[in-house]
Symmetry: C2
Subunit: 238 residues, 2 copies
DNA sequence: ACGAAAAATTGACTTTTGTCAGTTTTTTGC
DNA sequence: GCAAAAAACTGACAAAAGTCAATTTTTCGT
């Protein structure tokens, strides 16, 4: 086993992800405050940031890498709700609701992630009304998205859900902006199945169809989207 | 057709629902402010309060009656996410997110519902930090609930979802507190199917099973829960 | 209470999706 | 780069849930 984690140091102001994070509602002074109270850690692939049901001690901000957010069903099956990436802020909802985590978070690759303790986060939330508004808007918006996800899960066949999921993942895996090559989705079939909400075998068979239809190509586990328009049609969007 | 609606007048301070509404975070002065800027309307069964995709002009607060909240799938099928009742506040998420409604709302019975215009609501949100906190907490909490709903929808068989839905509806239909008789759920089979996320025929067959198992009895459309414990077992909760 | 209209119900059948078992390929840590 | 482990894949089959068509019952407005 490789070593578990190591610490590092990154100023928020210098963080490449800062601009697209919720913290972009903060002014320089506030950002400096946060920057000074946070700590920054390098995680290996497959490490857990937090577990569903435990109490939050602060929030996580992703500087680099991807993190899967999921909830466990009763037989231990994961329902993946999001893949978070650079700039993503994790764990603040449980903190605000004064509740335990309703989901778990696990790194999908080696990641650099900052941790901001509860007190600093809540203080910032109180002191900056623009940050407060930003968060409030974000949460309200997410609720709309979740409602749509639920409706899709309840009403659409697997094939459409897969097409929709692939299109979403295109965004998630898209802005690894520095690289200029085409976009490749790098998830295990299990994880993909747990996003779509289906069995792994069913997922594989549908991927096969999409390959035959030339919407995608695969190279090992990697999926490359070749024809987003075709996928949109398969998704039967309205 | 009966007449569409009529206006009435109720002071928030005198509203039986106020104590359990989000407005209970307000002090007397603030409550009076709201009370003076709202209007109150009696709706007939089956009327639409707002449509998915339109822009909110304010928020609705239910004084009396039940309202179904739903999203339309692409073939026009309703996915019902909640049944709101006395004290429920509707439409504030779209307002806060500066977005269109992500769901629609329709009365399930004759209702008395107050309308508070956008400006008053947003002003109160700005001026009362306790109200702001209250809302923020509520939304964060709802997000956790939605995640659980999504997971259930994706992973549980219809039978379990129905049991869970019936148990939830027991709460919704429960606190018609003044009546002392046992709790009866009064929804069409279609609506119930659209909550559970299944076909109406499937729903009916499962209700039949639950009757045979003596978890419930029915009288016309009305469903009475006789054995919550049995239902919990059928729900396979963990 | 009456009669249309809406809703509930039933049965037969189809389709979709999941499960299981086994094989092949890829990934991973050293 | 190698070997073990993990993941991906395939086929046959089973189960769950949806669809369609027809009938009965309930609800609703008058």
């Amino acid at each position: 086993m490789r070593s578990k984690m190591q610490h590092t140091s990154i100023a928020c102001a210098a963080c490449r992800s800062q601009a697209k994070s919720l913290f972009n509602a903060l002014n320089n002074g506030q950002l400096t405050n946060i920057s000074e109270s946070k700590s920054c850690t390098v995680y290996r692939k497959g490490q857990i940031l937090f577990h569903e049901g435990t109490r939050p001690l602060g929030v996580f901000c992703i500087n680099q890498g991807k993190v899967k957010i999921y909830k466990l069903g009763y037989d231990g099956k994961e329902q993946i709700t999001t893949i978070a990436r650079e700039g993503g802020l994790l764990g603040y909802k449980a903190l605000i609701a004064e509740d335990t985590y309703s989901v778990s978070a696990e790194t999908l690759e080696d990641c650099t992630i900052c941790f901001l303790p509860k007190s600093s986060f809540l203080q910032t939330l109180q002191e900056s009304s623009s940050f407060n508004e930003r968060i409030m808007k974000q949460v309200c918006h997410e609720l709309g998205v979740m409602t749509e996800n639920l409706t899709n899960q309840a009403q659409r066949p697997v094939r459409e859900r897969l097409a929709i999921t692939l299109l979403k993942l295109r965004d998630t895996y898209g802005l690894d902006a520095h690289e200029d090559g085409p976009i490749e989705i790098n998830l295990t079939r299990d994880d993909l199945a747990n996003m779509v909400g289906t069995a792994t075998e069913t997922l594989i068979r549908l991927l096969h169809e999409f390959k035959k239809d030339e919407y995608i190509t695969t190279k090992g586990r990697k999926i490359r989207i070749e024809d987003p328009t075709g996928l949109s049609q398969a998704a039967n969007l309205y």
